[in-house]
């Protein structure tokens, strides 16, 4: 009986939060002229933490919850994203971002190991939530320029900026 109850809860939870399809990830080799002797383990950690930042961003913007940014964003990026979330909450709407594909390339690594910049051609959907009527999802392609810096346990996004791809 108890197992059935948990099973029902699990099914219900899945209905409430349908599992998002995982984005397709493609990583291009970095250009040594700009990235020097960046270790592959470092590059892997940077990309892993960056992709996790997209999950945090999605949750933060859909629920208008700035604290969801804390783990993965820092400095200017965090300030700007948090300000946007406060703006949209004040205006009474949210935005849902769903990244479908990433094409990532590390384009710069500072020699003292204190920052890494990557370019990411992202395919994503964005939808306005909570306006007067349901809106359709908009498909977007943008090139993100992202600077990450190391903190105690992980790389965090310090600059998060896009232009049309």
């Amino acid at each position: 009986m108890r197992q059935a109850f948990f099973l029902l809860c699990a099914v219900f939870a899945t209905e409430l939060h349908p599992v998002q399809a995982q984005p397709a990830i493609r990583v291009e080799p970095p250009d040594p002229a700009y990235t020097g002797t960046l270790q592959s383990q470092t590059a892997d950690a940077v990309i892993r933490n960056y992709l996790h930042a997209w999950d945090s961003l999605r949750a933060a913007f859909a629920q208008n919850r700035t604290t969801s940014l804390d783990q993965d964003f820092v400095g200017t990026a965090k300030e700007k994203l948090a300000a946007t979330i406060r703006q949209q909450a004040a205006l009474g709407f949210g935005t849902e971002y769903h990244d479908r594909a990433h094409n990532i390339k590390i384009v710069f690594a500072s020699p003292e190991g204190l920052s890494v910049e990557l370019e990411d051609d992202v395919d994503y959907e964005v939808q306005l939530l909570g306006s007067n009527k349901p809106t359709s999802k908009l498909n977007r392609k943008a090139r993100y320029f992202v600077v990450l810096t190391p903190t105690e346990t992980r790389w965090r996004v310090r600059v998060f900026q896009a232009e049309h791809d």
Partner: protein, 288 residues
């Protein structure tokens, strides 16, 4: 399908209307410089809600379709890729555009390492910069960056390199003279300064003298210098070793004003040597 004459104009009007409906971005700039004023003009009639949204900023305005809507300077200032949605009841329009950084640099993020290093080290000093506009947007387009390392004696090293995706790094050599150097990064009219302290390198060689001092032998080095003639800093450890009859005595002595000195037991036939780090000095056989 062949159109009959009376239907042809109506058909072309329909095509034109259809094309217009597929081009809702008309009247919306494709790129806006951060912080600048702009205006939009969207087709249609009546009032509508305009939503502009991107991760770095959102806006909402009630606009009049078919007329110009003016956005004053400072309305959109965070660079990024934005979507817009016009909600006009039964019909809506959407599109996308960019807010691009201001082309004039306003701020440099300058990381210089290390703050202290030995003289004459090739590529020992590195500097990395990121270039931002006045709204803390990363300026992606290439900018000419200039680095200058100047010593107290007036020696200068300069390098000019273009930024790549808003960033650039450089490696420079520490000079032969100890002292405080200024490391300057400059882009446009913006500059940022860091201080680099160059300290003497490892001792180039050590030479000591010995003289009797009662029942002991007094040992004193010549001034200890690096290979560029700079005095090795006080506190650097010099080790004296006395070996006699199978026993060995050592004494670690810090340099003081360039010298190290100590008294050790006087043992006839003893061999005394001096060293600092990996540098081995002269050896003396003490016969008194």
């Amino acid at each position: 399908m062949k159109l009959t004459q009376p239907f042809a104009p109506a058909f072309f009007l329909l095509v034109l209307a259809s094309l217009a409906a597929q081009q809702p971005d008309r009247g919306f700039p494709s790129a806006i410089e951060a912080g600048s004023a702009f205006s939009i003009e969207l087709h249609g009639s009546g009032q509508a809600n305009l939503y502009i949204f991107g991760p770095n900023q959102v806006l909402q305005r009630t606009i009049q379709l078919g007329g110009a809507t003016y956005f004053p300077a400072g309305s959109l200032y965070n660079a990024g890729h934005y979507s817009f949605l016009v909600d006009a009841g039964s019909q809506s329009q959407s599109g996308e555009f960019d807010v691009v950084p201001v082309s004039e640099p306003s701020e440099l993020s300058f990381l210089a390492k290390p703050s202290r290093l030995p003289v004459n080290l090739r590529g020992g000093i590195t500097g990395a910069i990121y270039v931002f506009d006045r709204y803390r947007n990363l300026i992606i387009v290439p900018e000419a960056a200039r680095f200058e390392l100047s010593s107290q004696t007036g020696n200068k090293q300069t390098r000019s390199v273009p930024t790549h995706d808003g960033a650039v790094w450089i490696a420079m050599d520490s000079t032969a003279q100890q002292g405080v150097d200024k490391f300057l990064a400059q882009v446009g009219g913006i500059s940022s300064l860091r201080i680099i302290r160059q300290v003497p390198g490892e001792p180039c060689g050590i030479k000591m003298k010995a003289r009797a001092s009662g029942a002991r032998v007094q040992l004193i080095t010549d001034p200890v210098r690096d290979c560029n003639g700079n005095l090795v800093p006080d506190g650097t450890i010099v080790t004296f070793t006395e070996t006699s009859g199978g026993t060995e005595s050592t004494a670690d002595v810090p340099l003081k004003q360039g010298f190290a000195q100590i008294e050790m037991p006087s043992r006839a036939g003893a061999t005394i040597s001096v060293a600092s780090g990996t540098v081995l000095g002269n050896q003396i056989r003490w016969e008194q």
